[in-house]
Symmetry: C2
Subunit: 200 residues, 2 copies
């Protein structure tokens, strides 16, 4: 059985959101599964002194334009949320907690969180909203609320971020197919060809 494709993302990344709406279907067409792995771009940015895209001169204003055009190009609805970018550690921690209990629930939560943020423009940075979204997916809200404050879950996410950096992962979305790294939703055509041909 072939290895799952890895899909690394930050919940605050619009290009990550676009990829989240496509990657499972692309993989399925080639008989592959996808392993989703949220991480924090902030951890990468802090370590290497990168700046968040929206704050970069020229590139920031362009990116807003590009995000909305790419949304139309891919036919995936998207707004630029009023709070953008945001801290996503609570959403990412919730995802890992859910995933350890129920993969399908974690997947449903990821879609719900991305869509809540990038379709409905709601701020998903606070634990309260993360808990509401998780509960709507069937999670035990009180147990998750307790877990979100735990050192164990904080360490878990910290380890995932360190693993991402150790693997050379610096952006969102970041897709890895049998060790081959693809950064950006604009690499979807290359990803498709890679899956079709087994590498080129």
């Amino acid at each position: 059985m072939s290895n799952p494709i890895e899909f690394w993302f930050d919940f605050s990344s619009p290009y990550g959101y676009f990829m989240s709406e496509r990657i499972d279907a692309v993989a399925a067409r080639h008989g592959r599964k996808v392993r989703w792995r949220p991480f924090l771009l902030g951890a990468v940015y802090k370590q290497f002194d990168f700046k968040p895209l929206p704050s970069i001169p020229l590139k920031g204003p362009y990116s807003v334009h590009d995000i909305l055009r790419t949304s139309r190009f891919l036919d995936i609805p998207c707004v630029i949320p009023e709070a953008f970018p945001i801290a996503t550690q609570h959403a990412a921690r919730a995802w890992y907690w859910l995933h350890d209990r129920d993969c399908a629930m974690a997947r449903a939560f990821a879609h719900a969180a991305f869509r809540d943020y990038f379709r409905d423009g709601r701020d998903i940075s606070q634990p309260e909203r993360v808990l509401e979204l998780a509960a709507a997916c069937g999670a035990d809200r009180d147990a998750l609320a307790a877990a979100l404050g735990s050192e164990e879950l904080k360490t878990r996410l910290r380890d995932e971020c360190a693993a991402a950096i150790a693997r050379g992962i610096f952006g969102s979305p970041f897709v890895v197919i049998d060790g081959e790294p693809f950064w950006g939703v604009d690499r979807l055509p290359q990803i498709e060809r890679w899956l079709e041909t087994g590498g080129f």
Copy 2:
């Protein structure tokens, strides 16, 4: 008659090189001409304190991998030159001097310079090599040699770089269609659809 498409590029940009091999044909399929405009990424980077891609942690090593894979994906031969990136002011100045005299010769020189650098791996940063390439395209070598040292041509390129920055152009390749900006050779599918549909 429709406006020409603008194609901004730096001679040291591999993604700019890829676009240079595609943009005229893409435009021609839609009855459009292309106005090529070399500029210096260094001017943008200096003003906004951006770092050259190869020097950025994680992103730099990834980009080398991505450049070579993109070369195979687009079926455009490419090597990573030993000297990379390089200063390209002499090539860009030569291009503007040629363009003021003979558009077709400037286009031929641009292809020759990009291919010399990214196919054959030759360093095109020095005036000597720029003059050889221009002469092979039919340019008056002595007149160009004299012009390369002139304040007039230096000012010309400085003005082009300032114009790029004033227009929000920060990367290479940068394509502008009737005011709509597209950064990166990976935006070719969006460019094609934009030309087909008149905007989306």
